[in-house]
């Protein structure tokens, strides 16, 4: 049996809502993925440490607080520093259209804004994950 895709679902930043993250986590599970859920208020360092120990294929982050322009690129950078740039990074949450190109430039592969169907997230991950 093939190893299922392993995804770290993380909530960086200070906002205290993880409904969206949980919906995504459940959808990924129902698509047969192994989701490691780490809960609220994770620092970029914690997210990277967990991603490395869990040897995940994907890091999926969600932010509602508006700190995405700082926190998403930070996670990308630390993962790179650790030599783990093969991990697929996606983001979601309340993110203005104008910020999306910059985030993609920084290495976030895709940004999912509110209203995105979970099936689209699943499709994107399946098509873009680098299997080892």
């Amino acid at each position: 049996m093939d190893r299922p895709i392993r995804v770290l679902v993380a909530k960086p930043g200070l906002d205290g809502h993880d409904r969206g993250a949980k919906v995504v986590a459940r959808a990924l599970r129902d698509a047969g993925m192994e989701v490691i859920y780490t809960g609220l208020r994770q620092t970029p360092q914690q997210i990277v440490a967990a991603a490395i120990q869990e040897d995940v294929d994907v890091v999926a982050m969600s932010i509602l607080s508006g700190a995405h322009n700082h926190l998403f690129p930070k996670v990308v950078q630390i993962l790179k520093d650790e030599g783990a740039e093969d991990i697929l990074i996606v983001g979601g949450g309340v993110i203005p259209e104008d910020d999306i190109p910059g985030l993609k430039e920084a290495g976030v592969k895709e940004i999912f804004t509110p209203g995105t169907a979970t099936t689209d997230v699943i499709e994107f991950i399946k098509n873009n994950v680098k299997r080892k």
């Binding site: 859920y37 809960g39 490395i52 040897d55």
Partner: protein
């Protein structure tokens, strides 16, 4: 051999990759374990089991923190059940252990109970060996005390901590039937809630009734979220290890576990041989057909299968 060096040097990414590889039955990872097997044996392996929501992850977090104060290196393997519907899972044990993520001397790995090649226990035991080589002084294996495979895993530990909670009531009877015998230490968690001392008394009474025990398991009340009773539990973990070492029971347990492990590995190879043979000639289907239409009995069928793999 880069991965091997990384593991020996305590590199987390190397260790994490190797755990993924043993999960997938990868030959390179198995070869590394073979080569470095003499580096195992240092770690005290502790199974943490009990009902879902009992506070196993919270307690593991507190135990790890207490042992970190003594500068011990800690490995944690947290096993959560996989959804039977999709094969996927949400592994949430890390939520209770987030402060440990950044500690250089702590390694946490979550595992689902997915359909592993060779079973969950094989994957877990591989991961335990890797963490042992990685240099951990203590390795905690957290599993829900429900399915047989989870109980099997916990049995591979040197020491088993049964986590109970107040107000289990009749559930204690059910737990007693299955897993009461495997607990070396009983920790009644959530002792801030009503009924904890009653639960402790009930468990003590049950222990009084069973007689075939080498060592009477201590029963402790703890409150993991308030970090109460943790030092006492750490003391009991150490007492247990001293007892195991001094009584030669550690050797006995490890020998027993090795026996079970070897038999399982051989069993797996034999089954793989049968399946491989079956692939080439369709033997199993043909024989099953004959048994189904009653021209052959299953015992003779077994002999035939067995003889055919001996020829391989």
């Amino acid at each position: 051999m880069q991965l091997e060096e990384k593991l020996l040097n305590g590199d987390k990414r190397g260790c994490a990759k190797l755990i993924s590889m043993v999960e997938n039955n990868d030959k390179e990872a198995i070869d590394i374990i073979k080569k470095l097997y003499n580096h195992t044996g240092n770690a005290h392996i502790i199974g943490i089991t009990g009902p879902p929501g009992g506070g196993k992850s919270t307690l593991t977090d507190r135990l790890a923190k207490a042992l970190r104060k003594e500068d011990k290196k800690i490995g944690i393997i947290a096993i959560d059940p996989t959804s039977p519907f999709s094969g996927g899972s949400i592994l949430g044990d890390r939520i209770r252990m987030n402060d440990l993520s950044l500690d250089k001397e702590v390694f946490i790995r979550s595992m689902g109970t997915r359909g592993y090649l060779g079973g969950l226990s094989k994957a877990t035991q591989g991961a335990v060996k890797l963490l042992d080589i990685f240099g951990c002084d203590y390795i905690f294996i957290e599993t829900v005390g429900v399915g047989q495979s989870e109980v099997d895993i916990v049995k591979t530990a040197d020491t088993v901590i049964m986590v109970m909670v107040p107000g289990l009531g009749d559930d204690i009877q059910a737990i007693k039937a299955g897993v009461m015998e495997i607990g070396d230490i009983f920790a009644i968690n959530k002792s801030d809630l009503m009924g904890a001392s009653k639960t402790a008394t009930e468990i003590k009474m049950m222990l009084d009734m069973s007689d075939n025990m080498e060592r009477r398991p201590p029963v402790l009340q703890v409150t993991a979220i308030k970090n109460e009773g943790i030092d006492k539990l750490v003391d009991e973990i150490k007492n247990q290890m001293n007892y195991l070492e001094e009584s030669n029971e550690l050797y006995e347990r490890r020998k027993n576990n090795a026996k079970t492990e070897i038999i399982k590995l051989v069993e797996e190879d034999i089954i793989n041989l049968i399946l491989k043979k079956n692939e080439s000639i369709g033997m199993l289907d043909d024989i099953a057909h004959e048994v189904a239409i009653k021209v052959l009995d299953p015992y003779t069928a077994k002999d035939r299968v067995f003889n055919s793999i001996k020829e391989l």
